[in-house]
């Protein structure tokens, strides 16, 4: 039983992280119908920002500021910088393609992804950068229930993930900006005709989505300790999967999709074998997709003829 719970905790944590990346991916998709394959690389940049902040404040073992402050700075800096990067990316590379065929931005996304990966390689080097989280957030600071342990980073990831999801859901359904986002998603030109600032709205979506990726990058650094220039690829793939399986464009869907994949991976590793984990996860997802062709929480594209 405790093994089951431990795997559940592990799966939920990883899943929450996937979900966070998927959220941003899904938001951008929802508004622009754009598969932003560069999203994973923004996550990578977030990871690096976290690393360099730890280093600027003395390094993991010799921090000269309190840990909560450090973590806050890490999250804020990653959110702001990566969010800004997302906005710049939209302005520079995607905006000229607004009216292009849908497949065109796919190549731009690939170009941006190449660019970010290799610029990171150029600027930050190829070494694996290590956060050394346990040096400043000790494992014993978490909670221990029987033989199941949940450390404080895991708790932080879960709590933040939950809050961000609820926040986003509120933002989109309740606030004016959220309504504007949905309107732009539904019909960009019509939205413009009613006075919605489309450029601003899209920039806001990119900022939020990218900032989430940045935050997720820091979280991943804290959880898994390692950052390097190509971690974005796998993360982007997972995010894409989570978003689609949950129902692309749907916020709770992305969350659910991420959690599902995280937990499935964890249990398959635990109960079957890590060798088959990807295959089995794919198998499960294919079945899910065939049973619900629009994803778990996706709404069927309505077709009024």
């Amino acid at each position: 039983m405790s093994f089951f719970l431990q795997e559940l905790v592990n799966g939920v944590t990883t899943g929450a992280l996937y979900a966070l990346i998927a959220l941003g991916f899904s938001m951008v998709y929802g508004v622009l119908k754009l598969l932003n394959f560069a999203h994973g690389d923004l996550y990578m940049v977030g990871g690096y920002i976290g690393f360099f902040i730890i280093r600027w404040f003395g390094g993991a073992a010799k921090l000269f500021i309190p840990v909560p402050l450090l973590v806050t700075i890490m999250f804020v800096a990653a959110a702001v910088v990566v969010g800004g990067l997302g906005v710049a990316m939209e302005r520079f590379a995607y905006r000229p393609l607004r009216n292009a065929p849908r497949i065109a931005p796919l190549i731009t996304a690939i170009g941006i992804s190449f660019f970010l990966e290799n610029a990171a390689l150029l600027l930050f080097g190829a070494q694996y950068r290590v956060y050394n989280t346990p040096d400043f957030i000790s494992y014993s600071s978490g909670i221990q229930i029987g033989s199941v342990s949940i450390d404080s980073v895991q708790i932080m990831v879960l709590v933040m993930g939950l809050f961000i999801m609820i926040g986003l859901q509120q933002l989109i359904n309740r606030t004016k900006l959220g309504k504007q986002m949905r309107a732009v998603a539904a019909d960009r030109e019509a939205a413009e005709m009613f006075g919605i600032n489309v450029n601003f709205t899209i920039a806001a979506v990119f900022f939020l989505g990218s900032a989430l990726a940045g935050v997720a990058g820091v979280m991943a650094g804290l959880l898994f300790n390692t950052v390097y220039n190509t971690i974005g690829f796998l993360a982007g793939l997972k995010a894409f999967t989570a978003a689609v399986v949950g129902g692309i464009g749907s916020i709770p869907g992305a969350m659910l999709g991420g959690l599902m994949i995280g937990i499935a991976e964890s249990f398959i590793t635990g109960y079957i074998s890590s060798i088959y984990v990807d295959l089995i996860v794919f198998g499960i997802l294919i079945v899910v997709m065939l049973v619900r062709p629009t994803g778990l929480l996706g709404r069927a594209q309505l077709q009024k003829v």
């Binding site: 309107a183 998603a185 030109e189 019509a190 413009e192 006075g195 009024k304």
Partner: protein
């Protein structure tokens, strides 16, 4: 003048659509814009709204040059549109669509406006929680009209507002346009049904391949042999 276009030339990419259009709409006037298919009527409305910017010429609102202004600022000066093909937000409910009409009206109570729209189109009250994309063509047209009225415009642009409506609704629609007009709102309406449109309009313009070829009071236009020959028959 509430609205005037001064020698406006508009392109889509490399394609010239409007060529030196000049047109006026006075405060509280009902002006109709006629023309054959693809003559640039919708483009004219889009130019007024600012969705497309002219390459040369000026757009004046209240005698102020707004040519380079973005759409939201123009809308804030009291323009609203019933776009061609309705352009509803299909994945949003009827109610939300109506709200989007008033998106620039900050922190105001919208209840009165909802009541007014619902009074005009009771069907919309009945269907307020249906997704707009699943409405029938005519129902969608009602939402489009209601949405435009939500912003309490001073100048209402309408692009073929009666397309796809039942005869009763077409009647009602023209009546609504008249009422709106009588309440002091200026209206610039594009219609295929020239005779009907002219019967309620003050003045009219006829567009042909991007140029204004005829203009005059509604009564003059109705009598004009040119219009009969050129627009109503061939």
């Amino acid at each position: 003048m509430l609205l005037s276009l001064d020698k406006v030339t508009t392109y889509y990419g490399q394609m010239r659509i409007l060529e030196g259009i000049s047109l006026q709409v006075g405060e509280g006037e009902l002006v109709c814009l006629l023309g054959g298919n693809a003559s640039g009527k919708s483009t004219t409305l889009k130019t007024v709204l600012g969705v497309v910017t002219p390459r040369s010429g000026r757009v004046l609102l209240d005698d102020k040059d707004v040519t380079g202004w973005p759409v939201p600022q123009r809308i804030a000066r009291g323009i609203a549109i019933v776009p061609e093909n309705r352009r509803l937000f299909g994945q949003m409910t009827v109610r939300e669509n109506l709200e989007m009409g008033a998106v620039l009206r900050h922190r105001e109570k919208l209840d009165d406006d909802f009541d007014r729209v619902h009074a005009l189109f009771p069907r919309l009250l009945e269907r307020r929680n249906q997704l707009a994309g699943t409405l029938s063509g005519g129902e969608q047209q009602m939402v489009a009209m209601g949405r435009a009225l939500m912003s309490r415009p001073r100048l209402l642009l309408m692009d073929e507002p009666s397309m796809g409506l039942s005869p009763a609704l077409v009647q009602q629609n023209f009546q609504i346009i008249s009422e709106v007009h009588q309440s002091g709102v200026a209206v610039l309406v594009v219609e295929q049904n020239a005779a009907m449109a002219l019967s309620i309009a003050d003045r009219g313009y006829v567009l042909s391949t991007g140029e204004i070829v005829l203009t005059g009071s509604a009564a003059e236009l109705l009598r004009s042999e040119d219009l009969k020959r050129a627009y109503l028959g061939r």
